[in-house]
Amino acid sequence: MTGNLAHTPLFEWHATHGGRMVDFAGWAMPVQYASIVAEHTATRTAVGLFDVSHMGRFRIAGPDAESLLDRIVTRRVAGMKPGQIRYALVTNDAGGILDDVLVYHLADREGHTFYHLVVNASNRAKIWNWLEQHRGGAQVELTDTTVATAMIAVQGPRALEIVRPLTEVDAARLRYYTGEMTAISGGHAIISRTGYTGEDGCELIVPASAALEIWERLENAAGQFGGMAAGLGARDTLRLEAAMPLYGHELNEDIQPFQAGLGFAVDLEQRTFPGRDALATLRDDVRAPRRAGWKLSGKRVPREGYPLLAGDEPVGHVTSGTFSPTLGAPIAMGYVRPDLAVAHTSVMIDVRGTRVPAQCVSLPFYRRTS
């Protein structure tokens, strides 16, 4: 089943530790080890370790690196200080979302600065080609470092405690959405205060050759706090509770950032990037369906594609749904007309032929308290 798939440097570890390997964007990834709910809860209450090496990673260096990125992504890259990380979008000429990405501005030991782009696994080739297509005569050195490195997300209230003994840079000193180069296990790594779970934590980009040793040390340390390795199943329930959009579900080329609730990630003033002019118009489109979230009664889970109804009228469909372990209730996200995308309004969700009432709630579904 997972024969022709790419393996992360941690594949063997997953396979020998009960990981149920599935195809995710061409990679053999663990969807879960024992239980999604246990892994989810461990991340909310202690710490979860995630192999996210399938995410695409590009290093962009050279004198024109900043200007190349600045004319491709929806947020300003010019003026980002070394250490800063920004969530941004890559849009096409029509303003449709090609990907959501993290832009890292980093400095190496010698003080040379460069950029790093983390993109979705499913969009790695597309964004690489987009960069190539738009580089023109820019003096940049583009390197796809995805295979040479591994990426490990350490997430949860105890995350920083287990990372601190391993890295030269103190994770607790990093502010949210900043990152630095650090020594780790004799090699060099990028450590950042970022994540995709709604918890505090950090992400490490480490040499592939050092990944297993680092992972095992983290896993040992996590166990002492009741933490554990967690698969893509828990990553999905965690990000969904935190109402973070997922490419291919809430985001695609027919969705523009404003309707997705990602206006904060679009900076149009005195900028030039593909889709900029289209977005200047779309920003004021009050009729575009908007991303919203619903909590359902009962226990049945709304799955992707299930119809949303206002009375008998189809008004959209579910883009992601799950049973929220934290809320103990089914939750869903999707797109509906703006008057229905308002907290306390209701829709019905057609769950395999049964209409289940769903109440629109303000997002996120879950917000950590500390």
């Binding site: 879960q32 239980s35 999604i36 709910v37 199943g233 329930t237 226990k299 049945r300 049973f323 372990p325």
Partner: protein, 132 residues
């Protein structure tokens, strides 16, 4: 009930057969293998009492955090009784899949429908192949 004494559908439902007044009564549930594969159960829809079911026909559903799966009747017959305590105690599937987690009792109306069921050895073999 001991798993060795049960019959199994390829779709992972188990069946225990008992004679009552000359007719066969099938008690059905889902196997430990199925419970382990599903994990994180959140919802069970029981069949309706009185419903006529055919072997292999969907007669309920079981849902986990990850996915929803149909429950298939392992026999042809009439649903006599369902385990109403089960939907609110889904942990029983984990604790006692072949006992407390029985799903329904069905009066078998067509004994030919039993012929496709697997014995424990054959079922174990199928699971070993699937689990690989």
């Amino acid at each position: 009930m001991q798993p060795q004494d049960l019959l199994y559908a390829k779709t992972h439902e188990w069946t225990h057969l008992a004679e009552e007044d000359g007719t066969k009564i099938a008690t059905v549930g889902i196997s430990h293998f199925a419970v382990e594969a599903l994990t994180d159960l959140v919802y069970l829809e029981l069949p309706e009492v009185g419903r006529q079911v055919k072997a292999g026909e969907s007669f309920g559903e079981i849902e986990s955090v990850k996915a929803v799966s149909d429950l298939y009747s392992p026999v042809t017959g009439e649903v006599l009784e369902v385990n109403r305590a089960l939907p609110d105690n889904l942990g029983l599937f984990q604790d006692d899949p072949y006992g407390e987690a029985w799903i329904a009792k069905i009066r078998v109306t067509d004994e030919a429908s039993l012929r496709d069921l697997l014995d424990h050895n054959a079922y174990e073999k199928q699971c070993a192949e699937e689990g690989h």
